[in-house]
């Protein structure tokens, strides 16, 4: 058997590809271009999004090459990722967590039917958890890890033309 690290390097698991996004996301600011720390909060999802987030941390996506890191508390995070659909029993706790984010910060809503942003200040079942102007975008439904990564890259680097110019980066 090959020595562990070599075994891994030989596999070339990280994928070089374009991550296409379907909708627009607001960028947080130029200072996050090379580093974005995210904190993921389960606001009441049925656990499949938790699995998706776990899959996003797989070597295939290798988020660290883009400077995307998973923080352990909201105080270390620039972006809060809320996994829905939100439950009323967690509303207070989610709101308290949103308040912990150091500014500038943003919130990405994942899973749950689409809400109109930023035209109205109603956030559907997200109401009471987060302010509409803090939301940088949303990924309704059951997004795959690649879609979430595309959203994160868009939030990190600003709008591009159609696809994100990340192909070829390792």
């Amino acid at each position: 058997m090959v020595f562990w690290p070599f075994h891994g390097i030989a596999k070339r698991l990280t994928e070089r590809r374009r991550y296409e996004r379907r909708t627009e996301f607001r960028t947080l600011g130029p200072q996050f271009r090379r580093s974005l720390h995210i904190f993921v909060v389960d606001a009441g999802c049925d656990n499949s999004l938790n699995f998706t987030i776990a899959a996003l941390q797989a070597p295939q996506y290798n988020t660290h090459r883009f400077g995307i890191y998973f923080a352990d508390t909201p105080r270390h995070a620039d972006l809060l990722v809320l996994l829905g659909p939100p439950l009323p029993s967690l509303r207070e706790a989610v709101a308290a967590t949103v308040r912990q984010l150091p500014s500038p910060c943003g919130v990405l809503l994942v899973g749950q039917e689409k809400v109109d942003l930023p035209a109205t200040d109603t956030l559907g079942s997200w109401t009471g958890m987060v302010d509409a102007d803090a939301v940088v975008g949303q990924l309704p439904g059951d997004p795959a890890p690649a879609e979430i990564l595309a959203a994160l890259l868009s939030i990190q680097r600003g709008p591009g033309k159609g696809t994100h110019p990340v192909g070829g980066e390792r």
Binding site: T73, P74, R75, A93, A96, R99, Q100
Partner: protein
Amino acid sequence: MMLLWLAVGLYIAGAFFASRRPLSYGVAFLASLVALAAGVAALSSPPQTASVPFFDNLRLSLSLDRLSATFILISSLSAVLLSLFAIGYGKLYGSRTAAAFSLGFAGVLIVLAAGDSLTFLSGWELVTIFSFLLMTDDVRYSGAGKLERRSPLVSASFRFLVFGEISSMLLLLAFAIVLVTQKTISFAEIRQAGPAFLVLATLGAAIKMDAVPFHIWMPGVYEQTADHSSAFLSVPLTLMGVYGLERFVTVAAPSPQWLVVLVLLGSLTAFWGALQAAAARKLKSLPAYSTVENNGMIITVIAASALAASVGTKSLSYLASFAAAAAVVLALGHALAKSLLFMSIGHAKESLGVKTIDEARGVWRGVGPVPGIGILVAGLSLSAFPPLLGYTGEWMVLETVFQSSRFTASGEKFFLAVAGFLTALAIGLAVFAMVKLVGYTALGYNHERFGSPVPDRPMKIAQLLSIILIPLLGIAAPFLLSRFGYAGLFGGLLGVPSPLLLQSGSPLFGVVSPTMFAAVIVVLAAIPLLVWRLRRPRVRRVEPWYGGLSLEEREYFTEPAFSQILLHMLRRFYGTAEGRHEGRRQLHIRDRFARPLRAVAAVTMRVGGALSRTLMNGHIYYYVAYILFAFVVVLIIRW
């Protein structure tokens, strides 16, 4: 010398006014100031003696040399702070406490200035008796001035009395031996007393210093007594022991074997005290055990100093002087820090009405910044935080025992290294204990509980004074030690100007400069912090984040939980066991010295009780009359 008499007189006057407690403590404060002045004056003048003829050719005398002056200075410094504190705090306790407090300090002065063994012994006895009275005072007033009776822990106090009397007996025997062999009681005339004297006298002093296993009375008594009384028991009372120890090793012929035993006893005491302090749960048993730890270190360095002096080579003479200086720094650092710790803890404890560390969380926020900073500064000094006095002291202890290789005898080398190992462990454990105390009480979260007001102006002034004195004296340690006669230990090196650098050995072993350290802290930390604060940074305050829900009081990481890992790892030492009672679970530990020593104390008390019932079953006045009669008869016979 006049100042000394004046101080003693004022103390006695203070005791007369005991019924008016603030006045009594005020007079004691004046007396302490006078005593402090006496100490300072005596330090810079040649030794003086005043004596009166007593019996035969024996003379009772008071004598002030450099050693006496040093200790009078240290003990008066704590007396000044404690009596000032007591002007406010003493209102909460009875007048017997006030009287015993003043007389106790008078007794300490007599011991420290005694020129002969009889005066020394009388002072020693007086202090023991007044300490006992301090402990057993059962009067206590609530904040509103209402009288409350409380039940003092009589059994623990009797244990103190038993050990105190054992100590006096040992000293009496030691002095008797000297009287028989050298026909003198004057310390100045005793020359090279034999090993029997050294063993008995140093053991007597060590017992007074609560050396293991004679420390077991402390936690129980400390919890019961008023805090200025606890500080009295912790500081002047044990200083007396330190002074005695220093005095006896200078007048006795050195006995290397016994000194090695003392070194080991000291380091074991330090280790055991720190071990118990780290596990202590009560607000006052932690400082009590910390006193044991400090005294252990002092015994170690004094014995090491005598050991080094007995060899007499150049490098060991330097080490002897260094170790003696270490004892002084430790004693001074401990006196100040422990006085402050007891004052601040007393302030917090009375205000919050609590007993355990866990209940006294958040003193800074809940009671006030003064007791909060007081506990912080005292705790930092006792856990050897540079450049405070405790740091210099503990560094000196370690440097002393780590130079064991300078000794020639292999036994001394080995046992000093063992002592170094135990002392280092002790210092580590003491840091743990102090982090626990400071972290929970001073800096902890108060759960929105606030203390009730206590009569606090003099209390605050006394604490503030100590808070300023501890770092100040720490920074000024080189100048201070030079005044005490240890100027030879200082030099300059590597850009540190002379005489700011304390050198631990000759040839050079280790160096430290608390003054430079303070300068560095000021430049690198204090000034930037000040500049940052002055720029008024924009700060957003949010509630702490505990997983999204607010933290309930029952969810707070408790103080026993903080020490649990230690109790588990060192379970062999602690005898840790889990107790289950009606569904309640908790960890129990026991002081392994407690049971055998309590048995000894119990037997002594039982024998004493039996004797008093069989032999001395008359009225107390008869015995007073017997004693007077005997005294008169002896005088008449000798005439």
